[in-house]
Amino acid sequence: MNLLIGTFTIGCILSLLALGVFISFRIFAFPDITADGSITLGAAVAATLMVRGVSPLLASLAGFVAGMLAGATTGTLFTRFKINPLLSGILVMTALYSINLHIMGKSNVPLLTVTTLATQSERVGVQLMGGATSFNLAGWDVSVRDASVLVAVALVVALTGVLLYVFLRTNLGMAMRATGDNVQMIRALGVNDANMVVFGVAISNGLVALSGALLAQYQGFADVGMGIGMVVWGLASVIIGEALVGTNQVGLTIVGAVMGSVLFRLLVAVALRWGLSPNDLKLITAVFVFFALVIPRFLRKKRLRNAHA
C-alpha cells in the first residue's frame, strides 16, 4: 500500500513535468529538451535555498522562476538568433549542467535534516490525525507521512492544473494557443509570435522546474543527474493522456496529462516489481515513446489503405 501511495505521489509530482512538456511540445509544437536541465535546476535552486533556511514554499517558487528564466533563454535563442529549436534546447540544457553544479556547490544536496514541504505536510497530517503516525485504510496500514504528502502534492497539482486551464482561456493564453496552431493568422491579428514562444517555453520550463523542486523535497535530495531522460518521460505521459481523453478540449488534455503521468508511473512500478532492471528503465521508456509515436501513424495508413480497397 505504501508503495502504491509512493507511486501516486511521484506520478503527481511528475505530472507538472508532463504539463510543461504538453505546453512546449503540444501547444507550440516546439521540441524543447531544456526540460532535462530545468527539472534539475528547480531541484538545485529549491534545495540550496532550503538548506540556507529559506521557507520551502518560497524555495519552490524560486525554483519555478529559475526554470522560467532557463525556458526564456531557450525561446530567445530560437526566436531572436534563429537557432534550430532542438539545438536551442540542447545548448541551454548543457549550460544548465554547469550552472546546477555551481548552484549546489557539489553534485548532491541532501535534504534529510531540512524542513521541506514534505515534512511540513507530514506535521499537518499528524496533527489532523490526532498524533497517530499510521492509520487503517480498508484493511491496509497507511503511514500518515506518506498519505499527507500525497494529499499535499495532489493539491498543488490540482491548483496548477486549474490555474493553467484558466490562463489558457484568457486573452493572452488564447493568443499563445493560436500561435502554436497558426502563426500566419496570429501575426495578422497583431500578436508578436516571437514573444509568445519565449513566454510559452518559459512557463513550460517553470512548471518543469517546479516539478523538480517538489521531487527533490519528496525524495530528500537534489542530484545533478536527476534530469536525464525526463523530457521523454514527460512526453510518454502526455501521449498516454491523449490516448485516454483525446485532444479536443484544453481542460481535458490537462487532466489527461496528469492522468497519463500517474498511469505511466504505475506501469513503471509494476514493471520494476516484475523484475525489470532499473538500469533498463530509460531504454524501455524511449522504446515506448517510439511505438506510441509510430503506431497511430501506422494505423492511419492501414485504415486509409483499407478505405481505398
Binding site: T170, N171, A175, I186, G190
Partner: protein, 270 residues
C-alpha cells in the same frame, strides 16, 4: 489612405533564383476606395499585398498607411491597421480553437492581450448576432473547433474576423480562389456587404475576370512587378470581363513578340 512610393522587392538577390517581384510600384489609394488587382501569374499582385501587410520589408520605397509611415513596421504591428483574408482558407483561422475563441482573438486585433477573460458574455452575444448574419447555421456551433468547418465557412469567418474591428485597410488575397463556386459567391456577397456598409478601403487580388469587372471602383492590372493599367471611375465601370481578357491577350502577344524578336536578333548577330 494608402500610399505606395516606388516600392521594389527582389527575392534571392544575387542567386540563380533571383526574382524581381516588385519593380518600383507606386499607388495612391483614396479612403473608402475598393481597388481590384489582376495580373498574370507571377506578376507580383500577391507580393504587393504582402509588402503592404509587412510579411517582408521592401528593398526600396515607402509605404504610408492612414497617415503613418509603416515601411519599417513589423507585420504584427501593421495588423493594428490592417485586416486580412488569405487565399488558403486554412490560413486565416486557428483550427484547434473554437469559433468563439477565434473571434475573440480577432476582437483584440492589434490591442494588448492580458489576463482578461477572453470570452465575455457581451462579446459572445455579439458573436451570435454577427455569425448568424452569415446565414451558415454556425451561430449554434460557436463552441465547435474551426478545424471541423468547410473552406467556405472558414473563409466567411476569416472575413468576419478581419473586419470585426474596423480596419483602416482590408487586404483580400484571392480569398475565393480555393472555394467551390457556390461558397465563392456567398463569400463575395458577404465581402460586398461589409465593404460597402463599413466603407472600407480595400485592396483585393482576384483571378476571376467576372469579379474584377463587377466589383470595386478601380482596377489595376499588373505585369512583371509593375502596374500596367489603372482604370478608374467611368472607365472602370465600363469594363467587361471580355475587355480584361483582351488586355491579357495583348500582354501575351507582346511577350511572344519580344521572344521572337530576341531570337531573330540572335540568329543574325551571334
Amino acid at each position: 489612405m494608402l500610399e505606395l512610393q516606388s516600392i521594389s522587392k527582389t527575392f534571392n538577390p544575387g542567386t540563380v533564383n533571383e526574382v524581381r517581384s516588385l519593380r518600383g510600384v507606386s499607388l495612391d489609394l483614396a479612403a473608402g476606395s475598393w481597388v481590384i488587382i489582376i495580373g498574370t501569374n507571377g506578376s507580383g499582385k500577391s507580393t504587393l499585398l504582402n509588402a503592404v501587410a509587412g510579411t517582408f520589408f521592401v528593398d526600396q520605397g515607402h509605404i504610408r498607411l492612414a497617415g503613418r509611415e509603416v515601411t519599417k513596421w513589423p507585420e504584427h504591428a501593421r495588423a493594428k491597421l490592417i485586416g486580412r483574408v488569405f487565399q488558403n482558407p486554412f490560413s486565416g483561422t486557428s483550427p484547434s480553437l473554437t469559433i468563439q475563441e477565434n473571434l475573440s482573438l480577432a476582437a483584440r486585433r492589434g490591442r494588448r492581450r492580458g489576463l482578461g477573460w477572453g470570452l465575455k458574455e457581451s462579446l459572445v452575444a455579439r458573436m451570435r448576432d454577427e455569425v448568424g448574419r452569415l446565414n451558415m447555421g454556425l451561430e449554434d456551433r460557436l463552441e465547435n473547433a474551426i478545424g471541423s468547418l468547410s473552406g467556405g465557412q472558414r473563409q466567411a469567418l476569416t472575413l468576419l474576423m478581419a473586419t470585426w474591428l474596423r480596419p483602416e485597410l482590408l487586404l483580400l488575397d484571392e480569398h475565393t480562389a480555393a472555394l467551390d463556386p457556390k461558397s465563392a459567391d456567398r463569400v463575395i456577397d458577404l465581402t460586398e456587404q461589409v465593404v460597402t456598409r463599413e466603407k472600407l478601403t480595400t485592396l483585393m487580388v482576384t483571378h476571376s475576370m467576372h469579379q474584377a469587372a463587377s466589383l470595386g471602383d478601380r482596377l489595376i492590372m499588373m505585369h512583371r512587378g509593375q502596374i500596367l493599367h489603372d482604370f478608374q471611375g467611368a472607365e472602370k465601370r465600363r469594363l467587361r470581363p471580355d475587355d480584361l481578357l483582351a488586355r491579357f491577350e495583348d500582354i501575351r502577344r507582346a511577350e511572344q513578340l519580344d521572344e521572337s524578336a530576341a531570337l531573330m536578333l540572335a540568329e543574325q548577330y551571334v
